[in-house]
Symmetry: C2
Subunit: 129 residues, 2 copies
């Protein structure tokens, strides 16, 4: 189990995800203050995938540098405000979700197994007809 | 800027991502110890998307509970070992990446614009031949 690689990959994924969240914040702000620019940014983002946040910013910098700088500033702010809470939220979230999966699974396997009918009634009627 | 919503969404995305990383760990282990099961799990995972980690686990629990439990244990372990490092890694990563974008952009706008040649030499030779 290569924990160092997992940590590195996870941080990279998280950076891209926060870039996407920053784009959403900027889009929401522009919809209030400057709808034509919101429309432009939305249409740019439908043509350029934000799956890779840095490639997206690189493209945006070439055509609308101020919007790219704004998303960069917002993602840094989001990272500073949000990441400190993540370790606790993720660990608790996984514990709860695992417990819930185990509970549901236990319920499922301990209840009386009623075998399903071999063929649904409509099909039986069809074959008999 | 709804920081609470961003934190919640990010934690959820991170849980799904760690479920995917846990699947990769289990697949690697099985490839060493039990190739037929690795093959089975790989083919199951190509049919059931792990984009939503909990929906994936729910499906896997119905058909191979031991593998599902194993992935659940590994993702909890990964969360405990890895998440503490993420805030620092992500904040530093975003700072560095923003700085790099700004540097490259500054270079681009201050340098003399040299137009690229219209066609690369190999293609020219091809058309001439």
């Amino acid at each position: 189990m290569d924990l160092k690689r997992v940590a590195k990959d996870t941080a990279k994924t998280l950076i891209s995800y926060l870039t996407y969240q920053a784009l959403r914040v900027v889009l929401d702000q522009l919809r209030e203050t400057d709808p034509p620019r919101a429309f432009w940014l939305n249409s740019f983002s439908s043509r350029h995938s934000i799956q890779d946040g840095d490639a997206y910013l690189e493209e945006l910098l070439r055509v609308k540098q101020d919007l790219a700088f704004r998303i960069m500033t917002v993602r840094q702010h989001l990272a500073e405000e949000v990441t400190d809470f993540l370790p606790e939220m993720v660990c608790t979230g996984i514990q709860q979700s695992n417990m819930e999966h185990r509970r549901r699974h236990l319920e499922r396997i301990t209840q009386l197994t009623i075998p399903e009918p071999p063929t649904p009634p409509e099909q039986q009627t069809d074959t008999e007809a």
